[in-house]
């Protein structure tokens, strides 16, 4: 069964060859805007929420790109737009060499086989009325790969084993499992179709800290074994540091900095990244007490009315006149690093 699945996945040779050299996923100037409507019968657009406003990044095969930022910065929206669960307002989403931003439902169905999602809430993301086996096997059924019942059952058992659960558990229902086990079931479901890309939307933030490590390690093991590519959305910087190769930091619908993990943690360039990293607690009270405090003041401005110029300037300790008027572009600094800040022009 796994062989047939990989074969079918590779059976679109034209697209795959063209994409073999480039990154698996390239997002170019992605915008997701939501209109704010007023009125019940006659609706009028009164404003626009620019949840994602010009995001560009690329994810290479086999790597993990961490996408971090405060809640409301648009990181989940970005993930949903890539999956085309939300309609992108503008921009290109090039997946395996194919721009899927304008795909209709039928064409998107084929692409869905190649990208899957793992959800934040391990309780809400599994249908309580379906057995674990049915949940894990659903993507196979949906894509017509469940014809041979015996092979189908073997594949489901294999998937369940792959995430560290016992194949007998296929008969049971989600409510009989703990949060961590449920998240494993969600991962097994995401693996069912042998996808190229898995979008992980805060997959561990709903779990206990002790379980988080197990699940993160499972993600990493699976990546090594199956050559998976992850877009890992999270707000927990230590989790992202553990799993990511590269990290993109988002603020108010924009990416403010992209760097490799080591670069970013050693020498954050954007003031927002610096503030974020400074806010990560150190598990040592003595060190924690002596380290310099860098607290950014104020709240994240509303995505309804983002500030002019640099979006971070009202809260930035280094804000200059230029920052108030001129929006800094994401500037490539070489060696895989890019930052959107006038300080690093």
């Amino acid at each position: 069964m796994p062989d047939t699945l990989t074969n079918t996945a590779a059976s679109a040779p034209g697209m795959r060859d063209a994409a073999a050299n480039g990154p698996l996923l390239r997002v170019e100037d992605l915008k997701v805007h939501f209109p704010v409507m007023k009125g019940v019968v006659i609706q009028k657009q009164v404003a626009t929420v620019k949840a994602v406003d010009g995001v560009s990044f690329a994810v290479d095969r086999g790597e993990t790109l961490g996408l971090v930022g405060e809640s409301g910065c648009g990181k989940s929206t970005t993930g949903l737009a890539i999956l085309r669960m939300l309609k992108p307002t503008a921009g290109r989403i090039v997946f395996e060499g194919e721009d899927i931003a304008g795909h209709d439902k039928a064409r998107m169905r084929k692409v869905r086989r190649r990208m899957q999602m793992v959800y934040q809430d391990p309780y809400g993301s599994l249908d309580p009325r379906m057995s674990v086996g049915d949940i894990v096997g659903e993507p196979l059924v949906v894509h017509g790969l469940a014809g041979d019942r015996r092979k189908y059952r073997e594949r489901v058992a294999e998937l369940i084993r792959m995430v560290g659960l016992l194949p007998d558990m296929a008969e049971r229902y989600p409510h009989e499992f703990s949060g961590g086990q449920r998240q494993r079931i969600g991962i097994a479901r995401a693996l069912a179709l042998n996808p190229g890309l898995i979008i992980c939307d805060e997959p561990v933030s709903a779990l206990d800290v002790s379980i988080q490590a197990q699940v993160v390690n499972l993600f990493m093991e699976l990546q090594e074994r199956l050559g998976l590519t992850y877009l890992f959305i999270a707000h927990d910087l230590s989790v992202v540091r553990h799993i990511s190769n590269r990290i993109a930091v988002m603020y108010l619908g924009r990416i403010v900095e992209i760097a490799t993990r080591d670069q970013l943690y050693r020498e954050p360039l954007h003031p927002y990244t610096q503030a974020l990293l400074a806010a990560v607690p150190i598990p040592d009270p003595a060190l924690e007490a002596t380290r310099p405090q860098q607290i950014i003041s104020g709240e994240v401005p509303s995505a309804l009315r983002p500030p002019p110029g640099c979006r971070f300037h009202p809260r930035c300790p280094h804000a200059m006149d230029k920052c108030r008027t001129e929006d800094p572009p994401l500037r490539d600094l070489g060696s895989g690093r890019a930052v959107a800040c006038h300080l690093h022009a």
Partner: protein, 299 residues
């Protein structure tokens, strides 16, 4: 020795029997009240289906010498003002109630589910327009619609079943819709959408099973309500025409007129109605709880 063998059989039985038997065992163990409801419900069905065989007298068999006789061995529920056996008439009444109750409640539930799931899941303009139509429909008094239908088509069972099904079906769609709206927002629906599952599959495999609890309750309560409404209609002369022994007709016709001379005329059909409606409700509640896999933990 015998006792050892007995316990062994009892502990092994759930494995050996089929799913239905296991379900019945659970019903009796976990929901005694629901089980009682189920027994009455089955008895009611049985009476309805085999009324022709069970009834000692014909439904309209008149015996002028035995008018208004109190309950006796010959006539367990007494006789009415025309000397008809009340026990037989109650059995035939069960037959009519089974037919009307199940057909109308079943059709109504199907209408509610289809309409509720479509408007709730698809949402948007379709939901807006369809639900305003439901609003308009519900703002008509039920009785007026029934009177119009009966006066145009004449009184009779098919038109009563059809009208009641439409009335309750459209009104009930609101309940299903609200359940669907909350189920639709669950991430497992989102997960199915993002794997590329068809709308039909999502509705059939995810939405419908998760709105089954209200559907079951809707159906069982509707059976009771339909039987009651039919009684009310018979009282107004809009129901199944008089010689037919409907519980409602008996209750409001002879039962009311001769209440003082023969209280059994009102008590017999009244008790039948009460017990059957109560039993369907209890059974429905038990079904709803037992069919939920989340409740299966308590073994």
């Amino acid at each position: 020795m015998a006792s050892v063998a007995d316990t062994a059989v009892v502990t092994a039985s759930p494995r050996r029997h089929g799913a239905f038997v296991r379900f019945v065992i659970r019903l009796f163990r976990e929901k005694p009240l629901g089980a009682a409801g189920a027994v009455i419900f089955v008895l009611f069905l049985f009476c309805g289906l085999f009324a022709d065989v069970l009834a000692p007298y014909g439904m309209n068999q008149i015996s002028p010498l035995n008018r208004l006789k109190p309950p006796s061995w010959q006539h367990p529920f007494g006789t009415d003002n025309l000397g008809r056996d009340m026990f037989s008439r109650c059995l035939y009444g069960a037959q009519l109630s089974v037919i009307i109750g199940f057909c109308a409640a079943g059709l109504a539930t199907i209408i509610s589910v289809v309409l509720g799931i479509l408007t709730g899941y698809l949402g948007g303009k379709f939901d807006l327009v369809a639900q305003r139509f439901v609003d308009a429909w519900m703002s008509f008094p039920d009785l007026i619609i029934l009177i119009v239908v009966v006066s145009v088509l004449g009184p009779g069972m098919p038109q009563i079943i059809g009208t009641l099904a439409l009335l309750f079906g459209i009104a009930g769609s609101r309940i299903i819709r609200s359940a669907v709206v909350s189920v639709r927002e669950n991430m497992y629906v989102h997960a199915a959408q993002s794997t590329g599952a068809s709308t039909f599959r999502i509705l059939w495999r995810h939405i419908l099973p998760n709105v089954m609890p209200p559907v079951i309750v809707l159906f069982t309560t509707r059976v009771g309500v339909v039987i009651l409404v039919e009684s009310g209609l018979s009282f107004l002369g809009l129901g199944v025409p008089p010689p037919a022994p409907t519980w409602g007709g008996m209750l409001s016709g002879a039962g009311r007129t001769f209440m003082y001379q023969g209280p059994w005329l009102a008590l017999a059909p009244g008790l039948c109605l009460t017990v059957v409606v109560y039993a369907t409700n209890m059974f429905g509640d038990a079904l709803r709880d037992l069919l939920d896999p989340r409740m299966r933990g308590s073994r």
